[in-house]
């Protein structure tokens, strides 16, 4: 007598929950891909960004110096090692600005693969990459 009611209630709950899971995934997916989120935020102002975009941005070492604080977490620790596979995080200070910009751009595009570096590079604009490269190439 009581059977159909709890069964129906449970099925309804399960269905509602699975719908909730599916809808929760939809807004979550842009959040897991910061690279997609940033251009979307920048989209309202393409008119101002467009003239600068075609030319390679000129790097500003002072701006790059501020941005480079985040690099210190791994590249600023002497002898710091990447885990799985194990190797030293490379020395990047003094490398040419052109090489550094190329490396960051390759990470940003996903052509060069490293979870941490891809995530970092995706958070940088082309101007940020130019600024960082200008700064890192200049450190003695």
């Amino acid at each position: 007598m009581m059977r159909p009611l709890p069964l129906a209630a449970c099925l309804a709950l399960a269905a509602a929950l699975s719908v909730a899971v599916v809808t929760a995934q939809t807004p979550a997916s842009p959040a897991t891909a910061p690279a997609e989120a940033k251009p979307a935020e920048a989209a309202p102002t393409p008119a101002t960004a467009a003239p600068a975009a075609p030319a390679t941005p000129v790097g500003n070492p002072q701006a790059g110096r501020t941005l480079a604080y985040t690099c210190q977490g791994c590249h600023g620790v002497e002898g710091y090692k990447n885990a799985y596979p194990s190797f030293h995080v490379p020395r990047i200070g003094g490398q040419s600005a052109e090489y550094l910009a190329q490396a960051l751009t390759e990470y940003k595009k996903g052509n060069r693969k490293h979870p941490t570096m891809q995530a970092q590079a995706q958070s940088f604009s082309d101007q940020d990459i130019a600024d960082l490269s200008a700064y890192l190439s200049s450190v003695k």
């Binding site: 059977r3 990447n82 799985y84 040419s96 090489y99 693969k113 003695k140």
Partner: protein, 149 residues
Amino acid sequence: MSNAVHAQRLAIALLAALALAACSQNNEVAAEDPGHASGEHGSSSSAGLPEGHIAAGEKRSQVKSEATKQSCIDCHGAEGNKPIDPTYPKLGGQYGDYIAHALQAYRAGDRQNPQMTPQAAALTDQEISDLAAYFGSRPTQLRDLHGLD
């Protein structure tokens, strides 16, 4: 009555499975947390490479490859310190295990470059270790970022 209990248990199990599925998706996000240094996808570890020899690496660095007709130093310059193109990295004094990792990634196809992919394709594990030992031992223009203000 007992059927109702079974149905409830089934529903609980179903909900638990759904909850687990949701949690496991969160774990994938956590694995990409930029706060952790984690490896390049698909690359084999540089651990397990044979011991490198500097003298052998110095010789190998001057050998022109079949594929590109270029040697390491033809492009990266003497001791890896004078690249002929600004987009080519300096290798002198770079960490040897990082150089070995980069060469392995090129050889495996995990990292792509028009010159380096064919250049690394023919290298043996021993040659990678030797080259890494050689370039890692050279004077350097590179530095870590510690001690910068």
